[in-house]
């Protein structure tokens, strides 16, 4: 490997220069991003290309760093909840849950049963919305323009449903320490019941339009193979791990809430390639519908917020707590350390996207540029969550 001889000729910022130092002579260094159609936000990937082949790729993070963990140190527990909706706009409910769950665990607060069901319903609906967003955007990456419109048509219905109890359409701040902000009213439940069969009828159309399409199959089959040990080394979770055949889902591995009472499957795929991750997400949407259906039937009457729920000035008792939930992208964890003061001493947020992205550098090596984009898309990245 010959190195760049004339270092002073290197252009670009620190990252590019640093990356180029070890580049081979004659290779092309290309910055994908921070503004690039395939990175869905402000992710930046530096790639070293030999023709169309990716020799090396390196994701550069931090373009959307918003200090959420620092903000947790200057707010009380209840005041920090609105932040959680902003961490991951795709699956805001999961993040809501992770933090609220950690605070409840630290404070030893019981949640009314109806609230648990409401949490599961909203979280799973949000998961479908998140997968639909991924599905549309991923196919956009692969050059199909129309699916995202159909996906958003369906997603819009979920957003309408979730708007009723939450009042917002994207960055929900719905969970409260000790329950949820508002009960699902009759209109909302009616809409959910209407939505389930309707969305089931849409899934075959998705299959016809793209899942079975030979061009798509050729595009995503056998590319971006992630071995199980790679997943374990990088801490990949969610559909990325399940697409490689690792049967790990927090809802089953470390059950929380009412999930043990529900009957649903954890879809996995042994394909290990982008197709496996695609299949897992498509199957997961069906499972979400099953979960929501059961929850609607099993949901008891009652309060949705525990009596004497913590006020904003509530202090988390001294101690620490960790709570993890299964988000649309993987394991969302919130670790709360309190010294008994007004604000939480330290909050650590474990973002699944961060771990999932970190294996990209290894997996993308030696692929074609178009494949690298397809692999990047198949990891389902939400940049604000990665940077936090």
């Amino acid at each position: 490997m010959t190195r760049y001889q004339n270092m002073e000729q290197l252009t670009g910022d620190f990252y590019t220069q640093n990356f180029a130092k070890t580049a081979r002579e004659g290779s092309l260094i290309l910055n994908l991003g921070p503004q690039h159609p395939s990175t869905h936000g402000v992710l930046r990937v530096i790639v070293e290309l030999d023709g169309e082949y990716v020799m090396r790729a390196e994701p550069i993070l931090g373009y959307l760093h918003r200090m959420h963990e620092k903000m947790a140190e200057v707010k009380t527990a209840a005041q920090f909840i609105p932040n959680m909706g902003r961490v991951d706009y795709g699956h805001a409910m999961g993040w809501n849950w992770a933090f609220v769950g950690a605070a409840e665990k630290a404070g030893g607060i019981e949640v009314p049963e109806r609230a648990e069901y409401v949490r599961v319903i909203t979280c799973e609906l949000n998961r479908i919305a998140s997968h639909l967003l991924w599905w549309g955007a991923y196919l956009l990456d692969l050059g199909a323009f129309t699916p995202i419109m159909y996906a958003f048509d369906d997603r819009e219905k979920i957003l309408d449903i979730l708007q009723i109890p939450t009042g917002s359409r994207l960055t929900y701040s719905y969970f409260r320490i000790g329950g949820v902000a508002q009960d699902l009213d009759a209109d909302c439940i009616r809409r959910i019941r209407e939505f389930i069969p309707w969305f089931r009828s849409r899934l075959p159309m998705y299959k016809d339009l793209v899942s079975d399409n030979i061009i798509l199959r050729k595009r995503i089959e056998e590319i971006g193979v992630i071995e199980q040990d790679v997943c374990r080394r990088y801490g990949a979770t969610g559909p990325v791990a399940r697409g490689s055949g690792i049967n790990y889902d927090v809802r089953r591995a470390a059950p929380y809430s009412v999930y043990p009472k529900l009957d649903f499957e954890i879809p996995t795929s042994d394909l290990k390639c982008a197709r496996g991750r695609y299949d897992v997400r498509m199957a997961e949407m069906e499972q979400c519908l099953r979960i929501v259906e059961q929850c609607l039937d099993m949901m008891p009457e009652g309060e949705v917020l525990v009596k004497g729920a913590p006020k904003p000035s509530w202090k988390v008792p001294k101690g620490e707590a960790y709570f993890a939930v299964e988000g649309a992208r993987g394991k969302i964890g919130a670790y709360v350390v309190s010294d008994g003061g007004k604000n939480i001493y330290r909050t650590k947020l474990r973002a699944p996207g961060f771990c999932n992205l970190s294996l990209f550098a290894e997996v993308s090596r030696g692929t074609i540029l178009a494949d690298a984009v397809a692999i990047l898309g198949s990891l389902d990245l939400i940049i604000p969550e990665i940077d936090r």
Binding site: L28, L30, H36, P37, S38, L49, G51, E52, L139, L140, D141, L142, G143, A144, F145, T146, M149, Y150, D153, L209, V210, N213, I215, L216, K218, R219, I368, L369, A370, D371, V373
Partner: protein, 326 residues
């Protein structure tokens, strides 16, 4: 003595008509494409300017004309500005030998097909120059893709066209059309279905239309070879793409779908109808399929289209010879 000025006059009128119609077709096609895409995606498409938004492309064209022409630093000024012009000018020539109706042809030469194929090959040069001269890495990659793609897809395209030329015994488009009849079973597509299929797929590749729009694959290369073009520089590339679409569809109509032949309605109407149908199919394909990968694109060409085209050509030649003996 009289014949030469008449021919000259005809070419002159033809050129003017072609230049006007290319502009018009560009505008109409932009509107159709956006409208069809809109309806496929369950949205209305343009609907604000004029009835159903028909004037929208005109507004867009005006906007493009009004935009500042911008050239990146380090670009080669001559090649950079030559490229869009080179993309657009040969297209005008391509329209000349197209037989719209019986005798309705701007330039009646017996090598019309050859002229079209020769000049359509120039399009790749403009893409290469545009991508190369912009001093942009995405542009360069797009240009490299465009060259490999165009060179590859030209071969099966030629071979499939040649098969029809064998049957018709002429390279004059008007002659080929005359050899076909009124009804669909009299058309060449019946005797040469494989050639038609190969032609159509190659044409998609040749015009850089989705699912073969790799030179401008926006999820990988932002906009590929025309990343750095603004205003009418981009506009000319855009116009050339649509004009090229019309040309390949017209040639397909003339070669395979009986050209101006058709019952009841006058010839030119049938010709336009058939071309429109093919164009609609191209538009539908764009808004339905994902993009193929670059190596797959070449695999489709070298491993499938090319052998099939050669086999088809051999078979055709065999039967043509057999028919001569019989």
């Amino acid at each position: 003595m009289n014949a030469i000025p008449a021919e000259l006059l005809r070419i002159l009128i033809g050129l003017v008509a072609v230049a006007a119609s290319v502009g018009l077709i560009g505008l109409v096609m932009v509107w159709v494409e956006r409208k069809v895409a809109g309806h496929i995606q369950r949205r209305p498409g343009p609907f604000e300017v004029g009835p159903s938004g028909v004037l929208q492309p005109l507004c867009d064209a005006l906007k493009l004309v009004g935009k500042q022409l911008f050239m990146p630093s380090g670009a080669d000024p001559i090649l950079f500005w030559l490229a869009p012009v080179l993309a657009f000018l040969p297209v005008l020539l391509l329209f000349l030998p197209l037989p719209v109706g019986d005798g309705l042809q701007a330039l009646n030469i017996n090598l019309g097909l050859l002229l079209i194929l020769a000049f359509s090959g120039l399009a790749v040069l403009s893409v290469l120059l545009g991508g190369w001269a912009s001093n942009n890495k995405y542009g360069l990659l797009g240009a490299a893709r465009a060259v490999a793609q165009s060179v590859a897809y030209e071969i099966p395209l030629l071979l499939s066209v040649l098969a029809v030329a064998f049957v018709a015994g002429s390279l004059d488009l008007a002659e080929v059309v005359k050899g076909q009849g009124t009804w669909p079973w009299n058309w060449n597509v019946m005797t040469q279905p494989l050639a038609f299929l190969i032609y159509f797929v190659s044409a998609l590749g040749e015009t850089n239309r989705a699912p073969f729009d790799l030179p401008e694959a926006e999820s990988e290369l932002t906009a590929g070879f025309h990343t750095e073009y603004s205003g009418m520089g981009f506009g000319l590339f855009f116009l050339a793409e649509y004009a090229n679409m019309v040309v390949v569809c017209s040639v397909a109509t003339a070669l395979f779908l009986g050209g101006w032949h058709g019952p009841v309605l006058p010839g030119p109407v049938w010709f336009v109808l058939k071309v429109s149908a093919l164009m609609l199919l191209m538009v539908f394909a764009r808004w339905t399929y994902p993009r193929v990968r670059f190596d797959q694109l070449l695999v489709i060409n070298w491993k499938w289209l090319l052998p099939l085209a050669v086999a088809n050509l051999l078979l055709t030649a065999f039967f043509v010879k057999l028919a001569q003996f019989a």
